[in-house]
């Protein structure tokens, strides 16, 4: 009998860790991994809240989010490969062709 709030709090912690990772890491692949952490944190929140609500709908939504994550991963990694072929680098500091 674990309070659902614990899960929810954990999801917030993970989400914030994901944000930190996104800003701290310097290589593109790990930055993307950090985004995946954020998505998973949100999934955990969903499932926790679904449990609290006693409705399975939240779990179905998580199913969709995982699908989306997979699709994003496919395109995202393709883009990272594309950039790697062009620049022979996947460091964030090398993405400075445009001032911004």
């Amino acid at each position: 009998m674990i309070p659902v709030g614990y899960f929810f709090s954990l999801s917030i912690v993970l989400f914030v860790l994901g944000i930190i990772g996104f800003f701290v890491k310097r290589d593109l692949i790990t930055m993307f991994m950090a985004v995946e952490v954020m998505l998973n944190a949100a999934n955990l929140a969903f499932i926790a809240l679904a449990k609290a609500a006693g409705s399975p709908a939240g779990q179905v939504i998580v199913f969709f989010v995982i699908t989306v994550a997979a699709a994003e991963a496919a395109v995202g990694l393709a883009i990272i490969l594309l950039v790697f072929r062009q620049k022979k680098s996947i460091k964030a500091e090398d993405m400075r062709l445009m001032k911004g």
């Binding site: 800003f23 310097r26 952490v37 399975p56 779990q59 199913f63």
Partner: protein, 165 residues
């Protein structure tokens, strides 16, 4: 027992993510992440979502992370060791993160009590999820097909080797 398992998995999961953030080797990062996601799958199980737990492990730990590792292999591991950001950006992001965490935590604190506890009637049976998927959530389910087409086309067009002449 349950609460012990929760804390174990939670600590392992957070540890995995921290490992990903702190390690400088991309391959290690990916492994840390697989580990964290597997723990997350366990947490899903604790939350009465066995089906999602399985999906999490199969798709995330299995498919997506393999894709990551695959790409990491392709882009030459030596690339991975890159200088970390300057000290002050690190400090700044830490401060910001703590701020965000405190803020979200404060906001969430009030509603934690109302969420109840695990246990009680089971909600996440695969049968139930399957039924929902093809009734209430039929439209989103169909949209995912479009989504996957888009992802396929996008990925292929970006990395296919040569134009057919």
């Amino acid at each position: 027992m349950g609460i012990f398992l929760f804390f174990l998995l939670a600590i392992l999961c957070v540890g995995g993510v921290l490992g990903m953030i702190l390690s400088k080797n991309q391959a290690h990062n990916a492994l840390f992440l697989v580990f964290a996601f597997a723990c997350l799958g366990g947490l899903f199980g604790l939350l009465d979502a066995p089906f999602i737990a399985a999906v999490q492990i199969i798709i995330y730990a299995g498919a997506i992370m393999v894709l990551f590792i695959f790409v990491i292999m392709m882009v030459n591991l030596e690339q991975g060791i890159s200088p970390e950001k300057k000290k002050w950006t690190l400090g700044l992001s830490a401060v910001l993160a703590v701020f965000l965490l405190v803020e979200l935590g404060l906001a969430v604190r009030g509603m934690l009590g109302s969420l109840g506890r695990t246990g009680g009637p089971s909600i996440g049976s695969p049968t139930e999820l399957g039924r929902l998927l093809f009734t209430d959530y039929l439209y989103p389910f169909e949209i995912t097909s479009v989504l996957i087409i888009a992802a396929l086309v996008g990925a292929i067009v970006l990395v296919k080797k040569k134009e057919k002449e």
